[in-house]
Symmetry: C2
Subunit: 366 residues, 2 copies
Amino acid sequence: MPTAVKSVLPVVLLGCGGVGRYLLRHIVSCRPLHANQGVAIRVVGVADSSSLLVADDVNSSGLDDALLTHLCAAKSAGSPLSSLLGQGNYQLFRNPEARSKVIDAATMLGRTTGLVLVDCSATYDTVNLMKDAVGHGCCIVLANKKPLTGAYEDFQKLVSNFRQIRFESTVGAGLPVIASVTRIVASGDPISRIVGSLSGTLGYVMSELEDGKRFSEVVKTAKSLGFTEPDPRDDLGGMDVARKVESLYPSELGPDAVSTEDFLESGLEQLDRSMEERVKAASSRGNVLRYVCEIGSKRCQVGLKELPKDSVLGRLRGSDNVVEIYSRCYKSSPLVIQGAGAGNDTTAAGVLADIMDLQDLFQKPA
Amino acid sequence: MPTAVKSVLPVVLLGCGGVGRYLLRHIVSCRPLHANQGVAIRVVGVADSSSLLVADDVNSSGLDDALLTHLCAAKSAGSPLSSLLGQGNYQLFRNPEARSKVIDAATMLGRTTGLVLVDCSATYDTVNLMKDAVGHGCCIVLANKKPLTGAYEDFQKLVSNFRQIRFESTVGAGLPVIASVTRIVASGDPISRIVGSLSGTLGYVMSELEDGKRFSEVVKTAKSLGFTEPDPRDDLGGMDVARKVESLYPSELGPDAVSTEDFLESGLEQLDRSMEERVKAASSRGNVLRYVCEIGSKRCQVGLKELPKDSVLGRLRGSDNVVEIYSRCYKSSPLVIQGAGAGNDTTAAGVLADIMDLQDLFQKPA
């Protein structure tokens, strides 16, 4: 006997590139699983950077699975949403009208059936839309870390109703870091320190350097494996991890001075010697270098750190992420969470878990 | 400006020994923190194995913090609940009346304000009470694993409304294992294998053996450190981890044949030689022994396993727990969760996090 649906989660997805596309596929393939759990996800609208595809009647219907599957195939082939034409119970709006249609849906659903805005884009442009949606009582799920790491007022507004926002996939792909920190905080166990290696790219680079490879060679390999942004300086500059950071390249090789091509062709090699010396110096002391983020009670630091070879962070290989959390309960030996910290599939799975975690807010009256 | 209380969580606590006592202390000390989050925990009743202390008016009041603090002190000094006499807006009931008073509260509150039954006892005796409470719409939070590992029908009834039960502290104290598994399952990422070292006691014993200490000596030290049950065979038999297990002692030294005292005084030493040989044989192959629980798609095994020294499980020291989860997203390199897997403080913190996690089910109408 199938379980009766107890929670319906209406969703609008912003951004249907890599992660967003995987999310739609997961939603479609998980329908039987979610039905067994008494939950149904209703995809009311999907937006890319220029258009919005929205169900005719956002109050009661969603984009059907055949359309979502077709949409994923189109985006995968590099076509914009606006290329999707055909019959169906949906409409296409272009910017700036698209934006106001999302607000219409938020106004209509936010305080009635509820609505989740899911941000799988990689831009700061979604922040005002989401702030408005929060004002209308909507829930927010983010894979996109930019809206949370810009202006502090934006962050405050987005998290103003903390039970209605989830952002697990902004840290370490889907690794359960935020969920664990939230649990620890809720239990009154004061966190004193968090130490982590949260850049899969820099984790890969550092563990390859240990094997004696050249910095320039390792960065180029990382790029060819799809581990880096198109301009690898986006990773090497550390901005992906936090603002207060040590960059792995000097300002003379920065984006204002040198193009990506020139950086890759000749800039990178200028860094080989000094990097090799740092790795060797650390090794002579039985240590390795790791690109580490550390949050204490008074400061936050991000940069290269020399660590014992056999420490949790020192043993890290490849592109895995690791986080150590120290608190009263995890004092001498920390809570350690480790695993794949990148990948569209994993990131999208984390987003879906976040959406599902909101279901108790969407319960139908019995 | 203080946040308005959005969720009130009425709680009845079963078992106020070690973990339960810590839980009450955490609840009292976290009041300001929870108020900031818009949540209030109302302790309606507290039971030990013979009595129940219950608020006069379970509909609107709870046991006050002074009484809860006094109760913790009394239990800590070894006094039963029934020794608590004095003025206050509460009543004391002894078994079997105590049980029917809990059911009265469950009937009254389960489907109105909601009620959480929290089991911090270490007995199977609570299971019928909790099954009845589930029938009345109550939520369940368990630190006690026995109700979930007895009869399968009991398990089924307890988890029949899966959003209304939490049991994080039944595995690895408060380590976020169940929460992570639940997230992975909800996201449709199929788990293929879980491997873990989930007995702090046996973890400690195995890592001490590596340092060349005698088995009998290590077990006795573990007992004196409070790492084992009163009869250490409860740990050595592996029943704490699962039913399909390899015991570390032969049936000739089992509880039916030999008393705890005799086992400790002379039985244990009979095992030293064979254990030493196993440790040495493993070491000669660069391996170590670990007491491992492994759940695959077709079978579940618990027992001593030889593992490489530098594997995640092989590197484990002391009484830490570790779990590796393999799935589609965590395929070549698993999701690893590691940390303190024992201790009343940590276990109680996990229970409190579970209670807080239920708050969305208890929202006051706006």
